[in-house]
Every structure is written in C-alpha cells, then in structure tokens.
Symmetry: C2
Subunit: 339 residues, 2 copies
C-alpha cells in the first residue's frame, strides 16, 4: 500500500508504483500501455484495468526523454503580421494543433519577426521541439536559415528556395492567374494590382500569376498598374487615385486589408462598384464579409494547409520519405464587385 485512502483520488502514480501494486515489473506495465512487445492478453487487461481505475497517467516528458523525443513541434508565427492575416494564421494553427494532437504531439509557440528570430533560437537551443512549422516565408528567410543550420526537420506553409524542406502551399500563382484570366476574358483590360511586401514569396507568386494570365492571352501588361509594397491608408489611397487617373477598370488587391483600404478610398471618392470600377481580393475573410457590394475573392483552406504541413512533418520525423512540395487547391468566388 502506498497511499492512504483519503488521498488516493488525487495521487499521481509512477509506473514503478503501478508495477509494485500489481506485482509485475515496470517493463510489463510499459508494454501493456504502449502495445509494443509481447504480453499476454490477461496481463494487459489487468494492467489496463488498474490504470483506468487509479487514473494512472504516464509522464509524457519522461517517456520522451527515454525515447530522445520531446513530442513537441514548434510553430513559428510572425508577430508583426497585419490584422487581415490573422484569420489565416488562426486557421493554420487550428489545423496544426488538430493533427499534432492526433499523434500526441503538442505545439510550442514561437513568435518572431524578420529582424528578430531570437525566440526561435532559444527554443532550438533548449531542444524543446522535434520539428518546426513556419507559417510565412520571405526571400532570404532568417527562420529558414536558422532551421537549416540546426538540421531539424521542418515544414513551411509557403515556399522557399531550398529543396529539402517540406513546402505546403496554396497555388498562389495559379490562383491569381485564373482570377486575372477570368477578368481579362470578361473584356476587362486595365487591371490594377495592389500588393504587399514584395519580399514575401506569396506576393511574388501572385504577381507572377497576374503576369502569366496576360501573357497567355497575348495582352500586354501596363506596368504602371502594378503597385507592390503597399501599406497604410495614405499610400494605398494615393495609389488608388493614380490608378483611377490611369483609367483602371478593376483593382485586384493581394489581401483583404489592402482591399479594405481600397474600398474606403473608393467610397470617399464616390466611385461606385462595380459600375465605375470593379474590385477583387484574396482570402475571403470576415474582414470583407457583408461588404456591399459583395467582393469577388479567392479562397484558400488554411486549416487544411495546417493539417497537411503537420502531417507531412510528422511523417518525416518518423523517418518516412515524404514529398517535399505540395500545392493545395483554391477557389475563385465570383461576386457582384466584378459584375
């Protein structure tokens, strides 16, 4: 007897104590729980029953140490992203957590900026994770450099230069190409493009899709209609002014926050949508939900991106061969704003 009756409920057993109580070795208890190694059905049942009624909960950290695993994966989030991106990251996070939990892995958070990846460094130094998922990639991404140096398995949601990392992404190039094509085929010629940080891979890919669509249809691109590296209401407002001057027929924004700024400016100028100018955006987030008129948008399944990235990462961590690149689909949602 190890504990008094009164405290039995709250007692946290160790595997040693369980073994002693049952009169077996801890090897046996371990096997009954893990399912590894031969063990008689009867013994297993006895152990399982005891564990159940006495609420024995194996210490995952100790288990990890014995197996040289942490059962943690690191999740790198940019701490400097815009509000409009939040729903995207939130959904990624949900997908990642779900998949990780299904294999009894936990998710350790690391917030970084492009200037400061020290938080991730700390986690890697402490060896608190068996793998890492990063949720945004930039050109010369310091997170990726760090991860490659470390030699830890990792996945990115997005893409990067290197070949080894697992890269899961929506096909932004193709999505933007299709959206642009549709607009061009409607006879809309002067399509303005309002984009964010051109050092983000995702921006580059989208721009490429926009250019591809024009090339395919043999329609020359008017470079002055392409406005990258936009941020803030003043800059976007100015760009909208200039685009209107240039006779733009449609303004495609690379994210919903930019689109919101475009919409505010158009409203201020009393430009009616879609009569005078058509509008399209990305992400289809709640930020633009309920807008009048409803806004044409691309949609990506962020949760599925998270799930997939996590699944592939776990497989690679388990030593399986996994494909390095995977593009998930997207949807074009046509609404009144481009009618």
């Amino acid at each position: 007897m190890i504990v008094s009756r009164e405290t039995e409920e709250k007692r946290i057993y160790t595997i040693d104590e369980v073994a002693r109580e049952l009169g077996v070795s801890k090897t046996t208890v371990s096997r009954a729980i893990s399912g590894k190694g031969r063990i008689s059905a009867e013994t297993r049942a006895r152990v399982k029953a005891f564990i159940e009624t006495h609420n024995y909960r194996p210490n995952a950290v100790a288990k990890g140490l014995a197996q040289s695993k942490t059962y943690n994966i690191g999740l790198v989030l940019p701490s400097d992203y815009a509000v409009s991106d939040l729903p995207f990251f939130q959904k990624c996070m949900a997908g990642i957590c779900e998949m990780a939990a299904s294999q009894d892995y936990d998710v350790v958070l690391s917030l970084v900026t492009e200037q400061d990846v020290s938080h991730l460094k700390r986690i890697l130094n402490n060896r608190k994770v068996d793998g890492v998922i990063s949720t945004r990639t930039t050109v010369n991404d310091p997170v990726i450099s760090l991860l490659r140096e470390e030699g830890l398995p990792f996945a990115v949601i997005g893409c990067c230069d290197a070949r080894e990392p697992i890269q899961v992404d929506s096909d932004h190039r193709e999505a933007c190409r299709e959206l642009t094509s549709i607009l061009l085929m409607k006879g809309i010629r002067r399509i303005g493009l309002v984009g964010g940080n051109s050092e983000h891979w995702v921006s580059k890919r989208r721009l490429q899709g926009y250019l591809d669509a024009h090339e395919e249809l043999g329609i020359p691109v008017a470079q002055e209609l392409v406005r990258m590296d936009q941020s803030g209401d003043l800059q976007v407002g100015k760009s909208v002014d200039e685009l209107l001057e240039l006779g733009v027929e449609c303004i495609v924004s690379m994210d919903d926050a930019l689109c919101r700024l475009v919409l505010l400016k158009l409203q201020e100028l009393h430009v009616s949508i879609p009569e005078q100018v058509k509008v399209a955006s990305f992400y289809n987030s709640t930020l633009l939900e309920q807008n009048l008129p409803p806004i044409t948008s691309l949609e990506f399944d962020a949760k599925e991106l998270g799930r997939t990235a996590c699944k592939l990462l776990l497989e690679r961590m388990a030593g399986q061969e996994v494909s390095n690149q995977l593009n998930l689909g997207y949807q074009v949602i046509l609404r009144e704003s481009t009618k």
Copy 2:
C-alpha cells in the same frame, strides 16, 4: 577524444561528455552552468569557456525531468472567437510569450471551445505543462472547472467565480461606466448598448458599468435600449432598426466586430454619424481604423495583460504568494463619432 575533427562542429554534447573532456565531474559542470552551489571562479570559467567554444546546449527536457518541471506553460485559446477578437488574443499571446521566454519557459498551445475542452485535457493528462493561462472566461467555464480539478496553478485573463485562480483583467465595468458617464454628461440620454454573448464575463461586467453610470447620475435606464447576445449582420441590423425607431441617440457596441455591423447598417440607412446618431466601440482595433468618421473607443493593453498574467503565474509556480486579482487600466479615446 570523443569526436573526430570533421564532425566536431555539429556534435551535440551531453553533460557527461563535457565533464569527461574537462576532467571534472558532471556535478561540477552542472554547477558552473546553473550558478547553484559553490564552485571556484577558475573552474567555472574553464567550464564556461569549453561550453562556449564547443556549443554545448543543456537538454532542457532532461533538466526538467530532474527537477520535476516541464518549463512549459499552457496557453488556452478559444478556437471559436470572432475576427475582431483576434488582435486582442494575438497581443495577449505576444505578452505571454515574451514573459515566459524571459524565464526560459515555453508556451504550449491548446485550442478549445466551450463544448470541447478535450485538447486541454490531453495536455493535462500528459503533464506537459507546469501552469496554464486561459484567455477568456465564461460563466461556468469548463476550462476553469478542469483546471481546478487538476489542481495545477493557473491564471485567467478575465475573471471567474472562484477566488484562488489568478485573475488579471482590464477593469471593464469601470471602463464602460466611464464611457457611459461621459456620454450622459454630454447630455446624450438614450444610449443603446449592443452586446455579445451575455454568458461571457466581460459582457456582464460591461453591462454593469453601463447601468452603474446611469444610476450614479440618477438617469433611468431604458431596458429596451439594451441588446445583448447579438451576433451576425441580420440580428444586429434588426436591432439597429429598432433602436432607431426607439429614438436612440448613441449606439455603444461591446466590440469592434459588432460596431462594424452597426456602422454598415447605419450606412445602408444613410444615417449620418455623429449628426443623427453617435457611435462608440471597444478595443480600438484595426478593424475600425481609418473609419470615417473616426470612432470613439475604449482601449486595453492586451500585451500587458498577457505579460502580467504570465508573470504572476510564474511567481505562483515558484511558490511565491501573489495577489489573486489585478485590474489593469484602460483608455477612453474620444473621437468624432461622439462629437
């Protein structure tokens, strides 16, 4: 010699190997690193130097096991929150991560809903965390029940019934009381209140502040102007219609998402702000940034809430006595929408 020259760079040492290389015991190495126990300055310097040049990084998991700690705290986030709340949670998260990292703790994510707290249960069962921070509280909060049962130290950002948990919050009652007072003292009498889930403590507190302000000034509350449990554009739109019918002079929304719906409806009805109806909101998030006219709002320092909750939790985990309740400040930002 343990390793060949070529692989030396990448070699991950154990404390045992470091000790052997230096010809000291691992006790000594441990002491040199932790600073605990007596050790000669010279020995310490020698150990430190070796560690530095050979890139020895103590295994935090093993350290944790030896100390019966995990060096992790759990962060419970509702996975079902609205977009407008995201910046708030994001900032909390940043504050928590920052404070945790400063004490070499990591943050393990747990996404739950009011219906499903199984993810948190898993983490508690695995004993992967030494303490927990929850970022939203509801009446009969299942997260809090679980945490109290478990007997783990925890903090909430928000408030709850129990007395033991650490509760860090903005003073929502007082904030809403002050905002309402200001409006009442401007001579505005019929103030509509559009609120969210009335089972959320934060909603209750705000409502109380609204009522208090009226009572203090001896102004009767028109119950029909109070609209709790609002969500979705249809319901909010209908409430706005009805409030206007009732001759409302100002509409206070309990969060920026609700306020956005109110604004959309007012715009649709061509009601001008602030001439015909005044408008105020909470959070002062980017969701309403750039709105014309600018919206009067309360502001809370979410990052500081996160920092503080984490700091108090870490202190309690270290066995210190800490105050259970702490209210942080807020700001009232008066803008054109209530002119």
